[in-house]
């Protein structure tokens, strides 16, 4: 009878008395396989419970049930339909009734019980949506027939024993539903309690199905949504796909059109779904959108629909800085998972300012350097390798990090030294590890259901009327930069019909920096030289940078000494002027003309004159110095010329202006210190021009004779020198008025003063080489007398003179004394004869005679060596024979062929 048909499917009881009844059955050999198994397990259970290991019972029970079912299978026992399930339910209920609380294994047992009960319910037509027919009612009766009540104890306090409970559960549709839901909920809560969420979700899925059959769609949705979260979170596409499809059906049933739409979007863009499904649900979306009022907005997650692959800022130049108000361009790489093209009215990316751009100060450079040097922390001892030191250091530097891109790891080197200062360790430390390695928000998927909040899109980067094709799309977004700072792209919004698909951009989000460009003040002089003595046009301009400059901005210009300026509309020059600017928009340059006039005074050479202009800078709160170089428009030079005893003053006026010629008039020269030099007079040698035009190529030259009323002839009688020769320096001043020839400027006066000394000719020298006696011409290699005549024109305190004959040694040989002291005091004239010999023939320049003051050494007599020679100033000695030449014949004894003529 052991492996015959299964007639009795009563479960085991953990009660001792009932067990002993089974035992008698066994003794009488009236037992079935199930009886034996029941007896063995109940004995085992009884012992475990008495040992206080009640929790072991449920664990072993599950195995026992599995194994016994397997055994029945293997032994191919004939069992009535549902009989095994009845047995499992009874056994499970018995164990669960006898275990207190829940442990790891009760949950599985509850779940198993639920599973079998559902099978029974289906068999007997008790599940919602079905009506038990007569055969099913008959089945219930026959199943109850194999269930022996007497093997269960009657429980007190209205508690049901397993048989009673099972019978009640299978008695009607309503009570089945109640019991099934009760058991299922217990299983779920038990699973949740022990942390087996996924197992609980699996039951939830089946429960949802049950609820759906019972027309309790809301309940089903709750379970499905929970499960969906779990599946999506861990990326189980097939499972989430199925759940999504179920959810979509539910939403459609209860006409939750917004949620239905969102679910449809998810399905349509799920790569795991079949193309048919995706296309079907895409059509559903379109249908639903048609029903929706046109103006309404529906927010859905774009996480799977439109994925952002990359966002890159496009710059015209690599070094282009984004400044407030300028246009920003971004290329967005999007991957559309929808099966069909969609025409988006707009694609926007919201922008969040993450950090204000640190103010650029003058001292920033310095601070930066300090910060980077601080990067290497040298800890003095080994002990510092503990963590607390690190954290301390990190907090300390928190403030420095404000200027960095928050998304990038900030790595620093850290060296550690032992006490003897040898290197102990070198490591790389990420200073902002907590920020960079911040856990990604895993709750993102949970927020999917409409809770995704649209970001602020007023400063967004946008592109309108974009068609998104399935697969990769490139979209160019445009926007305008706000105030300076670091901006992060935070969220994308794809607007398609009434749908707004939102997606938060992942970490690290793309960023861009908006920097401010300071306005720059410039002073331009144009391409011509600035000329002193003439007004010059300068243009003062402001390059607005990123600023908007309002009309009426004032900048003051202060000129250094000798320089004056005026606004274009003023007529008066002054040292300080205030320049008003018109309005300027960013990146524009606004300019205002100003005129500067530089004093031209006493200019005697062409060197430029440097002047400084101070310009106030309203943005940097300081003044800047600009130096300007002015070329003189005019300058004058002075020459003292001598002709015997006559003296002439030559003054030249030069012009440096490249473009203009100047008209000069009223030229006059006057002695400034007339009262000291009453005997001097200036006589103009100039023609009586009313004006003279000079230019770069033509200078104006003027000549005056210096006439001295003190004449030597009058003092010859008194050669002892009672009359003092005045050697006061003379000062003359040239004044003239000038004006540019085109008449663009008023007449201006030019003055320059010159000082000169030694304006008298003291001596004249006359030298002559005569042919040797009896000869008509000088001949080379023959001695010729050179006659020198020195004449004193004015009494001179230095009457002791020294003359020298200097000659080119290839041309002349000086025979006799080359130099000697002469005393001019005895006679006004002194004649010297020296023999010289021309060495070659031709026109030879005469040997030069140089006259110097001879100052004998004091105290010691004699010797030229100890005496001193003082040269005369130019113009004091007039050499009449200078540059004279003499015709010398070739030497007589030489052949004609050696004759050399210059």
């Amino acid at each position: 009878a052991f492996n015959l048909q299964l007639l009795d499917w009563t479960g085991f009881s953990l009660d001792k008395n009932i067990n002993s009844r089974l035992r008698t059955n066994i003794e009488r050999c009236e037992l079935s396989l199930l009886d034996l198994r029941n007896y063995l397990f109940s004995r085992q259970g009884g012992i475990l419970i008495s040992m206080g290991k009640g929790d072991q019972v449920s664990k072993r029970c599950l195995n026992f049930l599995h194994n016994t079912l397997q055994e029945l299978n293997i032994m191919e026992m004939e069992c009535a339909e549902g009989s095994k399930e009845i047995w499992v339910c009874l056994c499970a209920l018995e164990v669960l009734n006898n275990t207190k609380g829940n442990n790891l294994h009760t949950a599985a047992l509850w779940s198993f019980l639920r599973e079998k009960l559902l099978v029974l319910g289906k068999l007997c037509g008790l599940t919602p949506g079905h009506k038990p027919d007569s055969s099913q009612l008959h089945l219930v009766v026959s199943l109850f027939g194999g269930l022996k009540d007497e093997r269960y104890l009657k429980l007190e306090n209205n508690q049901q024993n397993p048989a009673e409970r099972l019978k009640e559960a299978l008695s009607s549709q309503h009570s089945f539903e109640k019991n099934y839901l009760d058991i299922a909920e217990t299983a779920i809560s038990n699973y949740k309690h022990i942390g087996r969420i996924r197992s609980a979700r699996l039951i939830g899925i089946e429960l949802a199905e049950f609820y759906l059959d019972a027309d309790q769609v809301q309940q089903a949705i709750a379970f499905l949504a929970d499960s969906l979260k779990t599946f999506q979170f861990e990326g189980w596409e097939t499972l989430s796909m199925r759940t999504l499809l179920d959810l979509a059906k539910c939403y459609k049933l209860i006409n939750e059109s917004e949620k239905y739409l969102r679910t449809c979007v998810q399905i349509a863009s799920c790569p795991g779904a079949s193309l048919q499904d995706r296309e079907f649900y895409f059509r559903e979306i379109c249908k639903k959108l048609d029903e929706h009022p046109a103006g309404s907005k529906i927010i859905a997650s774009a996480d799977d629909t439109v994925q952002v692959l990359s966002a890159t800022q496009i710059k015209e130049r690599l070094d282009e800085t984004t400044v407030p108000g300028c246009k920003i361009k971004f290329t967005l790489e999007l991957h559309s998972n929808l099966p069909v093209d969609i025409e988006c009215s707009s694609i926007e990316v919201s922008v969040v300012q993450s950090l204000p751009e640190p103010e650029r100060k003058v001292s920033t450079v310095l601070e930066d350097r300090r910060a980077s040097r601080r990067g290497v922390n040298r800890s003095p001892s080994v002990a510092s390798s503990n963590a607390s030191v690190f954290s301390l250091a990190e907090e300390e530097d928190e403030s420095e990090e404000s200027g960095r891109d928050p998304g990038k790891p900030h790595m620093q080197e850290r060296l550690e030294y032992k006490q003897d200062k040898s290197l102990y360790a070198a490591r790389l430390v990420c200073r902002n590890a907590t920020k960079v390695l911040k856990r990604k928000d895993s709750s993102g998927t949970i927020l999917k259901d409409g809770q995704l909040k649209p970001a602020d899109y007023c400063n967004a980067l946008t592109a309108s009327n974009v068609t998104l094709y399935p697969g990769l799309n490139k979209v160019e977004l445009h926007g305008k930069a706000g105030v300076q700072g670091i901006y992060t792209l935070s969220q994308i919004r794809v607007c398609w019909r009434q749908l707004s698909l939102l997606e938060n951009l992942g970490v690290p989000a793309p960023t861009f920096t908006v920097a401010r460009e300071e306005p720059v003040i410039l002073l331009n002089k144009g391409d011509t030289e600035l000329l002193a003595g003439k007004s010059n046009k300068l243009s003062l301009s402001i390059y607005c940078g990123s600023e908007n400059i309002e009309a009426g901005l004032e900048i003051s210009v202060t000129c250094g000494r000798g320089l004056t300026a005026r606004n274009a509309h003023d007529s008066e020059y002054s040292n300080t002027i205030t320049v008003k600017f018109p309005a300027g928009s960013p990146f524009e340059t606004i300019s205002v003309e100003i005129w500067v006039l530089c004093l031209l005074e006493n200019k005697k050479d062409a060197n430029s004159i440097e002047y400084t202009v101070k310009i106030s800078d309203p943005w940097r709160q300081n003044t800047m110095d600009i130096s300007l170089n002015f070329m003189p428009a005019l300058y004058s030079t002075f020459n003292l010329l001598t002709a015997m005893s006559k003296k002439f003053l030559q003054l030249k006026v030069h012009c440096l202006d490249q473009k203009l010629s100047y008209r000069i008039s009223n030229v006059s020269l006057g002695l400034v210190n007339e009262e000291k030099l009453p005997e001097l007079k200036l006589e103009s040698m100039n023609d009586d021009y009313s004006e003279l035009v000079i230019s770069k190529q033509f200078e104006g030259a003027f000549l005056w004779q210096l006439v001295s009323s003190l004449s030597f002839s009058g003092s010859t009688s008194d050669s002892s020198g009672n009359k003092k020769v005045p050697d006061q320096p003379a000062v003359v001043m040239l004044t003239l008025t000038y004006t540019p020839e085109d008449g663009s400027e008023p007449e201006r006066e030019f003055r320059s003063t010159f000082q000169f000394q030694d304006y008298r000719t003291l001596y004249t020298i006359f030298a002559k080489v005569e042919p040797a006696k009896g000869n008509e011409f000088c001949r080379a290699s023959t001695l010729c007398p050179m006659k020198i005549e020195v004449e004193q024109l004015y009494p001179d305190p230095h009457s002791s003179l020294f003359y020298e004959i200097l000659a080119d040694q290839t041309q002349w040989a000086v025979c006799g004394k080359q130099g000697a002291v002469i005393d001019i005091q005895q006679s006004v004239k002194e004649n010297i004869v020296v023999d010289v010999m021309p060495l070659t023939g031709g026109h030879l320049p005469l040997p030069t005679v140089r006259l110097s003051k001879y100052i004998p050494a004091e105290g010691r007599g004699g010797g030229l060596g100890s005496a001193r020679l003082d040269p005369f100033s130019i113009g004091q000695v007039y050499n009449m024979s200078r540059t004279q030449q003499i015709h010398v014949l070739p030497p007589a004894n030489q052949g004609q062929e050696f004759l050399s003529l210059p």
Partner: protein
Amino acid sequence: MASCVAVIGKENSPLYIACITPEQELGFHYSLHTSLDFIEEKLSSTNKGNDHRDLYLGLLYSTEHQRIFGYVTNTKIKFVIIVNVDATNTNLRDNETRQMFRKLHVAYTNVMSNPFYTPSTRINSNKFAAVANSILAKQS
């Protein structure tokens, strides 16, 4: 022998799933997903204390018709093998399951060695599929 072979990534997302009967695939997916509960339980209980745990986790759980075995690499890649319990293989030796997992692990290591494979994406390798299929088809 086995009726389903799966590789599950360290973030618990499926990397590879193959099963004997495609019509039952959904059921296997549910079983595999549920098995993660048991794997996590085992990992958290065994990880305390000893660093050198056995990669083979043994039987994770069993249902009336299935036995589910697990194996977790040091990089938290999970291998799960589901064996259908029926008359043909009631007594599956521990050794045999270990053998299957070892084969799978070697095959997975080869996949990882491919420079063109991005870790924690779906495994799309013919060689790996061949090994998985050999485990599935092997009837004792």
